[in-house]
């Protein structure tokens, strides 16, 4: 399973890719595998806010609705509209074309609460028992 080293990870299975004061957010390969085929995605609108550890959207898969929890706080500047017609991008390519939102980071210090690739890998291994 792939956990790119340049990303930071949240324990609720989202990744963050920070570039300057912007950050892309999506769900991890582990998360998409656990969820199964994703059929709908609900994401915040541009201009909305995310708050670290709080819900920022939902996905429907395998007959469950699962909430998405924001890895960091910020203002939503872009949303991946392609997921409306092609939610399967999240399953097929979770770290690239399956990205979900882009935010303007409001507090860089929050990144310290996130996990590195190695730490996240260890975390899900422990979670699986």
């Amino acid at each position: 399973m792939d956990f790119p080293k340049e990303l930071k990870y949240h324990k609720e299975h989202c990744w963050v890719k920070v570039e300057g004061n912007r950050a892309l957010i999506g769900i991890t390969e582990h998360a998409q595998e656990e969820l199964g085929d994703i059929v709908y995605v609900e994401l915040p609108e541009r201009g909305g806010d995310t708050e670290q550890d709080e819900s920022f959207g939902t996905v429907e898969s395998a007959k469950a609705i699962s909430e998405l929890f924001a890895p960091i706080s910020g203002r939503v500047v872009d949303v991946n509209d392609d997921l409306g017609d092609q939610p399967e991008l999240i399953n097929d390519d979770p770290y690239d074309s399956g990205w979900m939102i882009e935010i303007e980071v409001s507090d860089n210090a929050e990144l310290e609460n996130l996990l590195s690739s190695e730490q996240y890998k260890k975390y899900i291994e422990e979670e699986k028992g």
Partner: protein, 263 residues
Amino acid sequence: MQPWRLINSPPSDGFTNMAVDEAIFKTVSAGSAPPTIRFYTWAPPAVSVGYFQNSPGDVDLAACREMGIDVVRRLTGGRAVFHDRELTYSVTCPDNVPTFPDDILGTYKIISSCLVYGLNSIGLNASLTSPMKKIVKDSPSACFTSPSHHEIAIDGKKLVGSAQRRGEGGFLQHGSILIEFDGERLRKVLPGTVGLECVTSIRDHSNIDIHSLVCRIIEGFEKGLGISFSNGDMTDEEAALSRRYRKERYSRDEWNLKRPAHI
């Protein structure tokens, strides 16, 4: 081990039923109420649609009005269910209870196994369906005739349909156990429904009354989960929350008829 709470609710309309499930989901996930199993029925009957489902597109709203059937949007996923003569269960549990795994299908499997224990104990040949094909977006609109995972069938015909929501520190799974099934009535409110021959009901196999059925299913959960129940009711907080959710969400057309703004 923490005792579970058992709530037997009086028959209620769909707006109340969904508001109560959400209120209990909220408090149980937050740890202010114990893990809970609830049983309820629907009066008047109602169609519930999945969280992301396009209700005006899939439900004959005029027929529902004429037949006195409410339409309500669920918090959970999946497709439309006609709640007519059925017993509904709901299970709410926080994430930190080791009884259930973190994943959706693992949770389905455990809950379905408990239901199967109960159904087998009244002599029904109920069993879990195998995990099936991929879910196809915009496939048939009625839940009972769509592919599913770890659901419950008798001789290959579906008896129980369930749906789940995860988040905020816990999960809610609720599902319909068909007591009697009238395909013609179903087709009036959900006209696109196909595969009715693949549905069965308790009445096709047993004359058990609902109270006795609930008792057997409770025993199934006690055996399957290794837990004990204490009879309970909603807390004041849950009662207040459910009134609020009913008023602000589930009794409103904006919620029930308008699909969430998925992208």
